[in-house]
């Protein structure tokens, strides 16, 4: 499997050259003229709004999709990837935006899936496989994860790391990472950057997709900007600025975020959680906090801190072990999502593919999934109303789509995420739980989503936001819980928001006293 590493390349030699690449899906022109080039040994960023065509380019390069027109040259020779195997053999390794894991297989097996270590006669060398997996996990900082555990038991961030570890297993000439940091917290992200630096030093060329420009500026040498299926420009990082890139991305100057007026929080407690113990939670004291009307409460923490579990427990998605949840002062008996929704609670899940969307069904059907009663009468669907609602939701969230009758699977990752949001906003809940709400959403849209959420909060909607992006929590929330190992380490007010404090709490090593609920 292993290729000769391209050590021999002189720096700056063109490794890959793409000229005027075109690709359309039915009537949608996903790529309508993409040109870019990779220099050997560089880290090259691809940025652009949701649906700009980044993932499509990557899928073409990795042999998932065939392209319609254009030319690709790899190391001087024409390159026409026909299937994933072909692209891999040519030394192109990809971590796709959507996960491609085998959930019932062990972590070790997932990591080795591309080239299992074999003994004679096709026998699996399990000792070697586990050893490799151990090394791979240690390298990306997952020291405490058992390589024999099935992937099914992992949270979404861990899954992302497994994907990365897998890609790093094979020696490659070009490593493409499509939004690898979307689900990672600071700790994992910086770990990843060290790894990228390491393989870059070995001469591997890295393509990096991210909506976080700070990341792009931290590790990349050059950046190519996509807009509407075209490449707008490629610039050296040293010679550009975040503002410049955003200008290229959206084709205009982004209005400066207005200094926000802080709306004083209503003191009514709409939801209170006391001593909540989820089925995975070993802490006998459980989790306790209160949520006020119109408040946006953030939950920070490292991957695996148990944040998702808290939201799932409140929403009734998983059974709880013990604890009391009260709503407007009355104890709630939540036996399932149904009860939670009836109590005016909504839940934007973190894994849109498995939990959020019905991928094969139309955008309209997905956006009306929760409030389907509102677009029906006596059980009969009112298609016009449903379409209208989908269009409204789409417009509100700047969804980039063809028709509301297109299946959600035809949308780009970030746009899919917007459909999940639209679905819950359409139901107009009083309390909205959001787990990684802007995962994979581009900078511009993100700002708009923040504005929308703040507007809703100002009108009295309360929210709990779990996010792995501290800047997101810092801009969005009125108060922040920090969790570590399934318990709350502290509660911070905006004036105390500060990366260092938060991280310390998140690592569970702060001497800040465990704050009271209020």
């Amino acid at each position: 499997m292993s290729q000769a590493l391209p050590q021999a390349h002189q720096p700056d030699a063109l490794l890959l050259d793409v000229q005027n690449l075109q690709k359309s899906f039915g009537g949608v022109h996903a790529l309508s003229g993409v040109s870019f080039s990779l220099k050997a040994g560089e880290v090259h960023a691809l940025v652009g709004e949701n649906g700009a065509g980044k993932s499509t380019l990557i899928k073409v390069l990795s042999g998932v999709h065939k392209y319609d027109a254009g030319e690709i040259t790899l190391a001087g020779a024409p390159f026409k990837p026909t299937d994933p195997h072909f692209a891999k053999a040519a030394g192109i390794q990809v971590v796709h935006q959507e996960f491609n894991l085998l959930k019932d297989l062990s972590i070790a097996e997932n990591i080795s899936i591309e080239a299992f270590p074999r003994k004679r006669f096709g026998l699996l060398d399990r000792a070697e496989m586990k050893a490799r997996a151990r090394r791979a996990l240690d390298a990306i900082g997952l020291n405490d994860v058992d390589v024999d555990a099935p992937v099914r038991s992992l949270g979404i961030a861990h899954r992302q790391l497994i994907e990365i570890a897998r890609a790093l297993q094979t020696d490659s000439r070009i490593l493409i990472l499509d939004e690898p940091t979307a689900t990672l917290t600071e700790r994992e992200t910086s770990r990843l950057f060290e790894i990228i630096a390491g393989i870059k030093a070995k001469g591997v060329t890295v393509v990096f997709v991210s909506h976080h420009l700070d990341e792009v500026f931290a590790i990349c040498d050059r950046v190519t900007v996509f807009r509407n299926g075209r490449t707008i420009t490629t610039e050296d990082i040293a010679e550009t600025s975040p503002e410049g890139i955003v200008r290229h991305m959206v084709g205009r100057n982004l209005a400066q975020q207005e200094k926000e007026i802080h709306v004083p929080i209503d003191k009514d407690v709409v939801l209170s959680v006391s001593a909540l113990q989820t089925s995975q939670n070993p802490d006998p004291n459980g989790v306790s906090f209160e949520l006020h009307r119109g408040e946006i409460l953030g939950i920070a923490g490292l991957v695996g801190a148990g944040r998702t579990e808290v939201l799932r427990a409140i929403f009734g998605a998983d059974p709880i072990r013990s604890g009391v949840i009260t709503r407007n002062g009355h104890a709630l008996n939540i036996n399932g999502p149904r009860d939670a929704i009836a109590a005016g609670i909504g839940f934007v899940t973190e894994d849109r593919k498995d939990e959020g969307l019905i991928l094969d069904m139309p955008i309209a059907a997905n956006s009306s999934l929760v409030n389907i009663r509102q677009v029906s009468r006596h059980g009969l669907l009112d298609f016009a109303r449903e379409r209208q609602m989908a269009v409204e939701g789409g417009t509100r969230l700047k969804l980039k789509y063809g028709k509301t009758s297109d299946p959600v699977s035809s949308l780009s990752g970030g746009n899919q995420q917007k459909v999940v949001l639209a679905k819950w906003l359409a139901n107009d809940p009083e309390i909205l739980l959001l787990d990684e709400p802007t995962r994979g959403v581009d900078v511009g849209a993100k700002a708009e989503i923040y504005a929308i959420l703040k507007g809703l909060a100002a009108n009295g909607m309360s929210m709990i936001v779990v996010s792995s992006e501290l800047p997101e929590l810092i801009t969005l929330t009125d108060r922040m819980l920090v969790m570590s190992e399934n318990s709350i380490q502290g509660i911070l007010m905006p004036q105390d928001y500060d990366q260092e404090t938060i991280l310390k709490l998140a690592y569970g090593q702060s001497d800040v006293a465990k704050g009271p609920t209020q």
Binding site: L357, I358, L359, I372, P407
Partner: protein, 332 residues
Amino acid sequence: MSSAHEANIAARGKSFSLKAILNNAGIGLALLLVIAFFSVTTEHFLSSNNITNILTQITINLILAVGMTFVILIGGIDLSVGSVMAFAAVVAGKAITLPGLGVTELILLACLAGVLAGLVCGILNGVLSAYWSLPSFIITLGMLNIARGAALQISGAQTIYSFPFVFEEFGSKLIYGVPVVFLLALLLVLIAWFVLNRTVFGRLIYGIGNNEEAVRLAGHPVFWYKVAAFTICGLTAGIAAIVYMARLSIASPIAGIGFELNAIAAVIIGGTSLSGGRGSVIGTLLGAFIIGVLANGLILIGLSDFMRQMITGVVIIIAVILDHYRARLSAS
């Protein structure tokens, strides 16, 4: 996988007739080819008598397949329909041969009893598989045995016969050459189409087949929807039992052996995905037609039984291959 497109259409609830039929065109094409072939190779195929025959012959399979479509759309399967049909027939047969009642009461009672028997089996299938999230394959395999055993036990393995004349007549009545029982089946197809494409219930049936968890998290009572799908399937098995009795003038405890495979085949040939979430009841209608026309035509051209069986197998495979190419074409 082959039918993503038409399923989307179905899920979107586009206009009936033309579009739906076009989107089932792969299977429609296969059907047309088969019809064309038999029309030129055999003398009687297109005779009005034979058309009547074909319509009669596909009726029971079609009725069973309509209910099966619901179950397969939620990602389940129902292996028990043949046995449940026999059980319902025996129950209805016992009812209709009760002494001392008027003809109308007897018929009403029998229909009610048969349909109810089917319904109960369906509810059991649904509750058992949905409550414990058990594979419906195995639950309905259990029901296959239970219902068959019950049918044999209740009837003492004796065929029940001698039904009121009007009842038997209903089984062979024609309206302009079209059997009334076929019209009944067609009505069921239309109702199913409407329910699947125009109602919230139908939308969620598709949703559950696609991503049960997403539907659950959207606050819908997935359990009840699943039970409902199986119940509908049991209901159609009960209706099929009544039609069977009217058509054959008997209620046999060994009726319907292997009918489940035919019904499932109609659904799948019609482009519904066995893993759920994609498909349409119009496809099921065409699938049932293919199976029925093949059975009829191959007899007419005088093939030996064994050749007939082999060719049936070959044509079924070719039909789905054709459908595959249709799906590819319409996708691009």
